[in-house]
């Protein structure tokens, strides 16, 4: 059973790797049947002699030992700089399409911030003996950025779509850096990632204010069970049902503590889910040959 579970997990992991940064939940919504079929086929081969399943034809694939991956401070710093480059690259791509002056100024400022963040992470990487990662994260690019940019372009480059994407990207960055804190071995590095993480959180809060139907603060439930209604901003627009279901409400301040949950936003009438980075998207130190 353990071998079958490992094969199932391997099939799921491989499938998710191909889809890049898409969350496991979204993957199931998109291609659950394909995954289940692969799992059944993978499970069939091992116990063909005694199982009542349909036997597998052909040769059993040769497996290759998997490389050992170390999640250390250098890996996390490399991942941090890679994510900053995703933001720089995406925003620079979008900047020429933005006609709204306020949004243009915000994105321009954020590009400058992300450049500073990238430099800081790259410098720290070298200080701790690693090779700096000075380009965009390929998993994030394939799984989040490129699909979102295509949706934006296909929708005519609407400001609302640009804002939604930027909000999602900043949320991913803010939460990813937060998730790094207990993984980093040095308190000085934890502080360093969070002075950046705080900046990304501010970016997200600024952009959230520009999203249709967004609210300043998530409502709180008081001790008596009543709800303190958060003040609402007035957004002019119609309600649209998005493909994939409407995303949850967006708040500038999501709650008492910043959660580590995917950002879900609507872009060009499609709901996308952007998950924070994890072991499948870290920029590991290449194994020495």
């Amino acid at each position: 059973m353990d071998a079958q579970n490992n094969e199932l997990r391997g099939a799921l992991d491989h499938a998710e790797a191909l889809l890049g940064g898409l969350s496991r939940r979204r993957f199931f919504r998109v291609a659950g049947f394909s995954v289940a079929s692969a799992a059944v086929l993978a499970a069939c081969g091992k116990d063909a002699a005694t199982s009542t399943n349909i036997p597998q034809a052909g040769l059993t694939p040769v497996t290759t030992a998997l490389p050992t991956r170390i999640i250390d401070d250098v890996t996390l710093l490399r991942t941090a700089s890679s994510l900053e480059h995703n933001a720089i690259d995406a925003y620079q791509t979008l900047l020429s399409q933005i006609t709204d002056a306020q949004l243009h100024d915000a994105i321009s400022l954020f590009i400058d911030h992300h450049k500073a963040h990238a430099t800081s992470a790259e410098t720290a990487t070298k200080q701790f003996g690693g090779d700096a990662f000075a380009t965009k994260n390929p998993v994030v690019d394939a799984g989040i950025v490129q699909p979102a940019l295509k949706l934006i372009t296909d929708g005519g480059g609407q400001a609302a779509d640009v804002v939604a994407f930027a909000y999602a990207l900043e949320t991913v960055a803010a939460e990813t850096f937060q998730s790094f804190v207990p993984l980093l071995t040095k308190p000085s590095l934890r502080s360093a990632v969070m002075i950046v993480g705080g900046s990304e959180a501010r970016h997200a809060a600024i952009l959230a204010a520009l999203i249709k139907d967004a609210t300043a603060v998530a409502p709180m439930v008081t001790g008596t069970g009543s709800t303190t209604a958060a003040p609402t901003t007035t957004i002019v627009g119609t309600t649209t049902t998005l493909k994939g279901g409407n995303p949850p409400p967006v708040y500038q301040v999501p709650g008492i503590f910043q959660p580590l949950t995917p950002a879900e936003v609507g872009i060009n009438r499609v709901t996308i889910t952007a998950d924070l980075l994890g072991p499948n998207s870290y920029m590991y130190v290449p194994a020495s040959s």
Binding site: T185, A205, F257, N280
Partner: protein, 264 residues
């Protein structure tokens, strides 16, 4: 300046907080109890040890530290480097820092708690002034509640080192300014500065805290203070650059040396 009013306000926060903390201490006592022989070297690493199921109960909201600390580890395990995609078993760090707070951590967490309780008192002054509109008063109430919960969380982690009172030095510094604020905008500007100071203080504290469990909690609070600052900055019409610096400004951080906890 009405110093008696300030002292009464700080005392009210103190009483309110003590009542809220009464059951939390009992709930967390066994989870956070440190073994008698825990005078471990600050540099010792405890692989796989510690309280893997530590739960911080904050005003009825139960936070699983495991969920907060190990969110990244719950991700899938396939990796992509260059053109090669591989999948494999989860990886682990080769050396692990301690999860639990040590005595120095608890002292610092206690200071942070006093800062949060000061923020609670400051919003209390703002709300009592009746100078806030309905919208901003609603926001101030929620932000005050957030800080109250932050105080409960940091106080729980501080354990016996939690002072459970507002920071007297900070109350003396900011209280008169809040009292003297003539307009809503003046109050919101002060609140904006308090939130910036709080975010910076959390960042500074992270550079000192050795336990990863309290570090994870601090890392979940810092962004909220930052977001508070943005909401307030927008309410008073600040330029985007003024409410969104490239990085959190550590010069705004409050420290125990600069603002010792002393009962007002």
């Amino acid at each position: 300046m009405d110093s008696n009013r300030l002292r009464r306000l700080a005392a009210e926060v103190d009483d309110e907080h003590r009542e809220a903390m009464r059951t939390i201490h009992d709930d967390l006592a066994s989870a956070l109890r440190v073994p008698d022989d825990a005078s471990a070297n600050r540099r010792s690493f405890l692989r796989g040890a510690g309280f893997s199921g530590v739960v911080v109960a904050v005003g009825g909201l139960v936070l699983s530290l495991d969920a907060m600390v190990h969110a990244a580890a719950a991700q899938t395990t396939s990796t992509t480097t260059g053109d090669t995609t591989t999948s494999g078993a989860p990886t682990t760090t080769t050396t692990l820092p301690p999860r639990q707070p040590d005595d120095d951590d608890r002292a610092l967490l206690g200071f942070v708690q006093s800062l949060e309780l000061t923020a609670v008192a400051a919003y209390g002054i703002a709300l009592d002034s009746k100078k806030l509109s309905d919208v901003t008063a609603g926001i101030a109430q929620i932000f005050q509640a957030h800080h109250r919960q932050h105080a409960q969380a940091t106080g729980s982690l501080a354990g016996p080192a939690a002072p459970n009172i507002a920071n007297g030095s900070l109350v003396a510094e900011f209280g008169p300014q809040f009292q003297a604020a003539a307009t809503e905008k003046d109050l919101l500007q002060l609140a904006f500065e308090v939130e910036n100071a709080a975010a910076a203080t959390y960042a500074a504290a992270l550079a000192e805290i050795t336990g990863t469990d309290p570090a994870a909690v601090l890392a979940s609070i810092l962004p909220i203070e930052s977001r508070h600052a943005v909401v307030l900055g927008q309410a008073i019409g600040l330029d985007i650059g003024d409410m969104s610096p490239a990085v959190e400004n550590l010069t705004n951080a409050a420290t125990p040396a600069k603002f010792p906890i002393e009962k007002g």
